[in-house]
Amino acid sequence: MSQRIVVDPITRIEGHLRIEAEIKGGKIEEAYSSGTMVRLIEEILRGRDPRDAWAFVGRVCGVCTSVHSTASVRAVEDALGIVIPPNAEMVRNLMFCAQNIQDHVVHFYHLHALDWVDVVSALKADPKRTSEIAQSISNWPKSSPGYFSDLQKRLTKFVESGQLGIFANGYWGHPAYKLPPEVNLIGVAHYLEALEWQKEIVKVHTIFGGKNPHPNYLVGGMACSIGLDDTSGINAERLSYVLTVLKQAKEFVEQVYVPDLLAVAPYYLDWGAIGGGLGNYLVYGDLSTTSYREPKNFKFPAGAILNKDLSKIHEVDLRSDNEVQEFISHSWYEYAGGDGVGLHPWKGETKLNYTGPKPPFEHLNIDEKYSFLKTPRWKGHAMEVGPLARVLVGYASGRPDYKEVVDSVLKKLNIPATALFSTLGRTAARGLEALLVAQWSLEFYEQLITNIKNGDTRMAATEKFQPDTWPKQAMGVGHTEAPRGALAHWIVIEDQKIANYQLVVPSTWNASPRDKEGKSSAYEAALKDTPIADPNQPVEILRTIHSFDPCLACAVHLYDEDGKHISKVKVL
């Protein structure tokens, strides 16, 4: 006999996600993932000036504002044949790096760590022993017994006051938590330090984007001006501040984030065989050392891996009519051509048709439509996107920098490369990626400085900015790699206005419902066979779902009638 449990919403993510899981014999037999909010950003954009789209898409989410804006300006530039100057390429790269590192650190400590770190257990830690462990894994200076003892006192006061707040939603004391109290205390300490640290790195966006949150982008380049001696704009002082925070970021990732990952992982090595899922990985690529138009120079090479076969990287073409397609057989939408067809985003349609039960309902009807997410497929395959996909494609491409970090972690943890296809692998890949990006950010910085010193201060190409220079009709695609995976925007411009605009976002790839053949997408596939120790406290579901870093705010939007945010668990 199986029982169905419902976790709705999944907490500690942006946006709303509902997971239902059939459990049999202590394991998940089938899982269903449903985006329970609706997004209609495409409809808001229709008829607007394409040069303004970046500002609207930047508002769909509080986390990925800059990657959406990047994809948007690139889509318009692609449609109009605009080539941006080298400085703008490097500034976009630096903003990408800052967001990627900030997001990975925040995700690890603030959204994911509490699935592995038991906060309440940290109260029992011995500060002296904690200090010894901390000093054995890293040179990070904040590691004295007094430091941990102070923190523990503050934490105790916090917990005793009944204000568990951020820590309220954990399954504290669950047998699946394996860390000793001292490692838990290190986790809590770094939770708070990461928060302090991240407020510096976001200043890269304030400097280059003019403001933060929601920095400015520009079709044709970037909206900042460079003059080393200027009092306003990007001057020598501001550039040197950027360098300082990039170095701090590298230091934090090297001395805190990665050592913590390596300290926690040995207690959870069984998760190297859980949560693998599809084994198909997709990367659009980004971070070119020259130009976005030269994919061969991407630090994140593009490509697809099928069936965990690292010996073959498949080419990906976002313009091809039959590669990226979105299906709606299980999604609350309708297509003019019927439910059976898949549409390339240039021909994409966004027409809602909610046919589900009136909320609150007990269970999704998974034989019918059951999500506000469409189901994207690449050449018909369900694909996983995200840091694991990027690390695997880079590793399989034989890039030395990827080889070095991946092999060193596999060796330290004494696990085979196949352990990468898992919840543990996904979590580790995020940390390794942050490490690589932190290193690359300094290279991009050097390139920017060299270019400026050589006398090139151009930041935008303006020849094709005026609509009277545009063709009557144009189509473009702009892609990037959001922290949680491949992101692209497709635009159709007609008579100087947006005629169609489609976003295919990373969490749509990962969290979508099954396709018409019944094939699961990444979340559903990864949850299959996951052991559940206690169906009333399914922390195991959170571990795997959080390992994807879900961000549903742009995948879907809205609706929460009474503001209830409690996880509910139903036993059949």
Partner: protein, 160 residues
């Protein structure tokens, strides 16, 4: 060390009709003549990125839309000390902002927060702009905020 005095911080998603109330009011306040030491920020849908601002100011006057059982257009002033004092249905900025408030409390760096919320209804329609009733009430809200900011300024210097 707190450098500046008062920040008026509008939050919300302006792609979602009345959900963007905080952003609309913040933008309108930027055009007003504000007392010395009062800044205005359109916080949009941000969460943790707002940390810098919450640390920097002694007082933060936050503006947001809420879905609750009060009549549409009801304006309430809350002085939250913990994240649980925030209205539950503060819409999409669920993770960032509340977690940030908790963490700042734990770090002992939480500014004094005045939270203005207005009950809204029309957030299911994805469009830009406020519904007529909310828009007319937003003028009152703006006036209330200005008044509070001025009062706080005249008592500036006293411990907060």
């Amino acid at each position: 060390m707190k450098e500046s005095n008062i920040l008026i911080l509008g939050v919300g998603n302006y792609l979602m009709g009345d959900e963007g109330l905080g952003v609309h009011v913040a933008r309108a306040l930027k055009d007003e003549s504000l007392p010395e030491g009062v800044d205005v920020l359109d916080g949009g849908t941000a969460g943790f990125q707002l940390m810098e601002y919450l640390e920097k100011y002694q007082i933060v006057i936050m503006i947001d839309a809420t879905l609750d059982k009060n009549p549409v257009g009801t304006i309430r002033l809350i002085e939250p000390k913990f994240s649980q004092d925030f209205p539950k249905a503060m819409s999409t900025h669920e993770i960032g902002l509340k977690d940030l408030v908790e963490s700042l409390a734990l770090l002992g760096k939480l500014p004094k927060i005045y939270l203005y919320v207005m009950t809204v209804q029309d957030i299911a329609n994805l469009h830009i702009g406020l519904s007529p009733l909310v828009e007319s009430r937003a003028i009152h809200l703006k006036r209330d905020i200005l008044q509070l900011a001025e009062e706080l300024c005249t008592t500036a210097g006293s411990p907060v």
